[in-house]
Symmetry: C2
Subunit: 217 residues, 2 copies
DNA sequence: AAATTAATTTAGACAAAACTAAATATATGA
DNA sequence: TCATATATTTAGTTTTGTCTAAATTAATTT
């Protein structure tokens, strides 16, 4: 098995690869993990030697197939624990991340299989992110950022990009949650702000908000 | 907070203190944690400097009040997780120890409070051991080792001393569990073996078994 | 294209927690 | 009580994962 530090690097690189769609710079890894670039270089070299990363000096790193699988299993555990915390222990969705960050490192396949069954094999975590299966396969649903929709389009909120407490509480306050139906009533080209219809009410939202909501049409 | 290694030492010393009822020798600590005596000495000195242990060179260590509390909270977490694993995830009682050993180090008071509530504030873990309260206070029930009972005495199984899989499976196979009523039909002084009545059946058990069952009269 | 800036890597140091081997207390037995 | 055996500690080393500072490579600007 892998050390705590190794697991954290693999997970970070997994997430960064989705942003970059090309090799992830050492600096980005270091920043994500709140460490110095030299530390990231060291660990990237070590993980590369172990066959978990493809890495070329000065060129950044990508996960190998093996690395991708290890990362996906960690993310699977993280998201299953988040479901547990929200569904069974009644945590708010903005409180669970730091706890799941610890729980994701518990080593026991049997535990995760049983937790998965106990939770009725959920497909998504409380933030709408898909839960990888046992083999690390992630089904990525077709989804758009709300800010890409045009006047008149209707969709359902399926996920959030930001996961800060502030943002999640902003949504809670307005009773906007995963599954909420949203209609675009208008769009302002000048500042990217939008007017939405949610249930019976109208909402004005800024561009920044619109860019952090994932919608399925 | 304390490191993983520190927590493991505190827990080990807590358990050993109950066996010894006097300062615990360095060697015993090392053995319990499967480490060399020199490593134990190092850590004991460090924990002593931090005020968690009372330690005198060559004389062994005891937990300070603070150390006792920290250890009790770790044990509280361990036992609550064991209840969760058995009651909610349907693990057998002989499978849970290694997993709880990892889960006991998760840091979140809120998590433990909610887990405790989710499990209906259990008083005992699946092996019959009492669960310390939030403040680390353990209520120790009056209990005897089965081998101390004499012919004719009746009691209820409230705990086990051994927790190896082999032993727990031995009990499972005979349908003896926490809460099972036991009557002593006879006792052989020569080898310490006993004849018991459990439900409608008679059981013959060796001294070794009798010494590992805790009974409440 | 050369000079400057930014990103990355290397080299060397440190802390934590383990180890081995040697030194020193303590306990035991003749 | 003295000698020996056992337990414990000390000293010095190793590994992991971090750091700082210096060196090197790549990217950008003039």
């Amino acid at each position: 098995m892998y050390t705590l530090a190794e697991e954290n690097y693999l997970k970070a690189i997994f997430h960064l690869e989705q942003e970059y769609n090309k090799p992830v710079p050492t600096n980005a890894i270091a920043e994500k993990l709140a460490m110095k670039a030299s530390s990231a270089t060291d660990m990237v070299q070590k993980l590369s030697d172990k066959g978990l990363l493809n890495y070329r000096r000065y060129k950044g790193a990508t996960l190998s197939d093996e690395g991708k699988k290890v990362a996906a299993i960690i993310i699977r555990k993280h998201r299953l624990w988040e479901v547990f915390l929200v569904e069974k222990l009644n945590f708010q969705w903005d409180e669970v991340h730091p706890i799941a960050e610890q729980l994701e490192h518990i080593q026991s396949d049997e535990l995760i299989n049983r937790l998965d069954a106990f939770l009725d094999h959920p497909d998504y975590d409380p933030h709408g992110d898909p839960i990888p299966d046992k083999n690390g396969v992630i089904k990525t649903a077709e989804k758009k950022v709300l800010s890409e929709l045009t006047k008149g389009q209707v969709g359902v909120l399926v996920g959030v990009r930001e996961t800060s407490s502030e943002f999640l509480q902003y949504l809670d306050k307005r009773d906007i949650a995963i599954g909420t139906k949203i209609r675009v009533l208008g769009r302002e080209f000048f500042d990217g702000s939008m007017v939405l219809q949610v249930r019976k009410e109208q909402f004005f939202i800024s561009k920044k908000i619109a860019e952090n909501l994932y919608i399925q049409i």
